[in-house]
């Protein structure tokens, strides 16, 4: 089961790459909308396979006695991150029918999966500190939130790339602006829920709900940046391009919280005591 799951994940990664190319081609070659449609079909199929792979991995974990949900290490979190990115994008596509967004959003899912494939996929039993339902809630909310921010960043990039010379009153622009904001909102609520569930877990594992360790602090930094973004709308002149740039900066904070802290700051503090 584990092997089947891993093979599925390889196929899914490849499918996300193909879909990204399809969306891009469909957007550039205006005369061939069938390319975008093909990319959609491929993406939905890949998402289904991705879901199956995660469930299979979950079952496999119980089969070999490791007994935990597949949200416990970097590999599993990346696989889940890729899944949430694809899911959130496809929901937006369903609602707005704007396939060109896929040219910006799907590559994120692909890169998350590509990174995952470079890691060791072995299913290992959990350390005692990680055995907590709050931790599962924590991982799920955080990564859904990260995906909201990721899609928002993709939309922002699209806004900035396609924006030159067009009137900001264009309906399509208003839609993009609104989508950027809505995805930040989704991300912000879920990141908040993620920080809260993380605190509850830390409180029951270590006896402190907040200890200013670098990972925690970076999630707070990300949260503060997006809180500022949400308030920027209430200041004059903060719309469109500025908010798009802000959302990109926010996503850089997300990426640093996710990868940078472990890679760059681990020399100073250790997260898992």
């Amino acid at each position: 089961m584990e092997a089947l799951s891993n093979n599925l994940l390889v196929a899914v990664t490849f499918a996300y790459l193909l879909a990204s190319v399809g969306y891009l081609a469909g957007w550039i070659i205006k005369k061939a909308p069938v390319l975008g449609l093909a990319a959609s079909v491929l993406s939905w199929s890949a998402l289904a396979a991705h879901t199956a792979a995660i469930i299979l991995r979950w079952l496999a974990s119980y089969e070999i006695g490791a007994d935990h949900a597949p949200f416990s290490n970097l590999f599993e979190s990346l696989v889940f991150f890729g899944w949430t990115l694809a899911l959130i994008y496809l929901i937006i596509e369903l609602r707005t029918k704007l396939r060109p967004i896929g040219a910006f959003a799907m590559p994120l899912a692909f890169f998350a999966m590509l990174y995952a494939l470079k890691l060791d996929p072995a299913i290992k039993p959990l350390l005692p500190a990680l055995k907590s339902n709050w931790l599962i809630a924590h991982v799920i909310t955080c990564f859904l939130g990260y995906a909201g921010f990721g899609v928002s960043a993709a939309l922002s990039l699209m806004y900035l790339v396609t924006g030159k010379g067009q009137s900001p009153e264009d309906r399509r622009f208003l839609v993009l602006d609104e989508l950027i904001y809505q995805n930040v909102v989704v991300g912000f609520i879920l990141l908040t829920a993620g920080i809260v569930t993380g605190s509850i877990w830390a409180n029951s594992a270590w006896g402190t709900y907040w200890s200013w360790d670098p990972k925690e602090t970076w999630s707070l930094i990300t949260w503060l940046v997006y809180a500022a973004l949400l308030h920027s709308r209430y200041m004059r002149g903060w719309q469109g391009a500025r908010v798009a740039v802000f959302s990109l900066v926010g996503f850089v904070c997300v990426l640093f919280t996710y990868f940078g802290v472990n890679l760059l700051l681990s020399g100073l503090h250790s997260y898992a005591r």
């Binding site: 609520i189 908040t192 809260v196 670098p214 940046v225």
Partner: protein, 452 residues
């Protein structure tokens, strides 16, 4: 929205400054930037660490600005206090206006003329369409208020006025969380207990070095570690008994992620190890050897005068190529003179011994497992959880509900026709409102077609 004071008065300017979103924007980003700094600089290290990394001047600057414990530095706390003041004043400033907007009479709203966003023309008089339109409006928005404006019929409905309070809920929650942190800091404490299997303690060592009584006894009955087949630890477990007035009053099992509680004090499984309780050693004085058994912190009289005790011991110390094995520190009180501390190595080990007429060699160490227990008393933690719940609930209200108002105006358009104009307003998600108005328009058109 402004208070009655004259604009420009110093009090008013101060108030406006603290009520502004610009200030909160700057504060939020400043807190973010400061926190970045806190993750780049090592925190709570010894002075020497900063001197080594940043030089004398750098270290002086870091210590002067309290960057070595930045999250508790006065200026960082000041930023948080400013944010709290900003929140309170901004909310006080806006709440009256919000309440007024929420309490507005529908009859008053009815009279406002709004530019139409959708319009359609149908056969029949306004009165022919009135009931159908009212039903559609009630279904799409809510209870309908009716009015007349000459020959025109006007309908008005609104929903979600209460959602304007969502933002206040969010802002209040931030204050509640801050209050929880403050309560915990003032009235709470955190500390640590290292408890040997079989022993009892009635106090704990606080993180700041002080000792305080628990108010009851805590005994470690048993400590166990379970391993997975591959050697990874599976579970750490301390079996505890709480004792009051000499009576066993409560048993508890402590595991990681499974704390225990007594009288509001929480106990957490934090670490474990082996602690040496007894040392059997050769005591060599003036060329004469005697075998002694020394206990932890307890003087044992020596044959020939003087006494000795075990200060501390480690079952295994690796000193490079020089020595590898147990090491103990032994206190020795000679018959006359000051007590001294001696370092003992395994008997027969080739270690460059310090000279002197007295030395000790380890024969055997006896050890018991000990459990490291994190202890916490935090009377503010419930406020934190209440605040977090309020915050998430507030987000849902603030983001997913809107105060929407919709007006329908039915006017005779000549030749037995009727023109319906649809106008709307909302405090957020304009696109959502546009979609709602489009749906309403389509419904009215379809309803009229069916009615014919």
């Amino acid at each position: 929205m402004k208070q009655t004071e004259k604009p420009g008065a110093p009090g008013q300017r101060f108030w406006d400054f603290f009520a502004s979103v610009k200030l909160s924007f700057v504060l939020l980003l400043s807190l973010a930037l400061a926190s970045v700094l806190g993750t780049l600089l090592p925190q709570k290290e010894h002075v020497s660490v900063y001197v080594q990394q940043f030089g004398e001047t750098g270290a002086r600057l870091i210590l002067g600005l309290r960057l070595d414990d930045m999250y508790h530095a006065p200026w960082f706390l000041l930023l948080l206090a400013l944010l709290a003041a900003n929140l309170v004043i901004c909310s006080l400033n806006r709440l009256p206006l919000t309440l007024k907007l929420m309490a507005k009479e529908p009859a008053e709203e009815l009279k406002r003329s709004r530019p139409a966003q959708e319009s359609l023309t149908l056969a029949g008089t306004p009165d022919d369409h009135l009931e159908r339109a009212a039903a559609a409006l009630r279904q799409a928005v809510g209870p309908v208020t009716r009015g007349e404006d000459g020959p025109a019929r006007v309908l008005y409905a609104e929903k979600g006025a209460w959602s304007r309070l969502g933002v206040y809920l969010v802002h209040l929650s931030v204050l509640v969380i801050m209050a929880g942190a403050i309560v915990g800091n003032i009235w709470g404490f955190a500390g640590f207990i290292n408890l040997n299997q079989g022993s009892t303690t009635d106090h704990l060592d606080l993180d700041n070095g002080a000792q305080i009584p628990l108010g009851f006894g805590l005994r470690l009955d048993k400590f166990t570690v379970e391993f997975h087949p591959d050697g990874m630890p599976k579970e750490y477990r301390s079996d505890l008994t709480f004792i009051e007035n000499g009576q066993e009053v409560q048993k508890a099992v402590l595991m990681v992620n499974h704390p225990a509680e007594r009288h509001g004090i929480d106990f957490y499984q934090a670490s474990y190890g082996q602690s040496v309780t007894k040392l059997s050693a050769n005591f060599i004085r003036d060329g004469q050897t005697q075998t002694v058994a020394l206990a932890h912190g307890q003087w044992t009289d020596l044959a020939g005068g003087g006494k000795a005790l075990l200060i501390e011991a480690r079952p295994e110390v690796n000193m490079g190529g020089m020595y590898k094995g147990p090491v103990a520190r032994v206190g020795y009180q000679p018959p006359q003179g000051e007590p001294v501390a001696l370092t003992a190595f395994q008997a027969g080990a080739k270690v460059p011994m310090r000279g002197g007429p007295v030395s000790v060699e380890i024969l055997e160490l006896e050890s018991t497992p000990y459990s490291g227990i994190q202890v916490k008393y935090d009377p503010g933690v419930w406020l934190i959880w209440v605040g977090c719940t309020l915050m998430v609930a507030g987000f849902v209200v603030a983001f997913y509900f809107a105060h929407r108002k919709v007006w329908l105006r039915l006017t005779p358009a000549g030749k037995g026709r009727c023109r319906i104009e649809i106008a709307g307003s909302t405090n957020k998600n304009r696109l959502g409102l546009t979609r709602l108005l489009e749906r309403l328009s389509a419904r009215l058109a379809a309803g009229a077609a069916q009615g014919e």
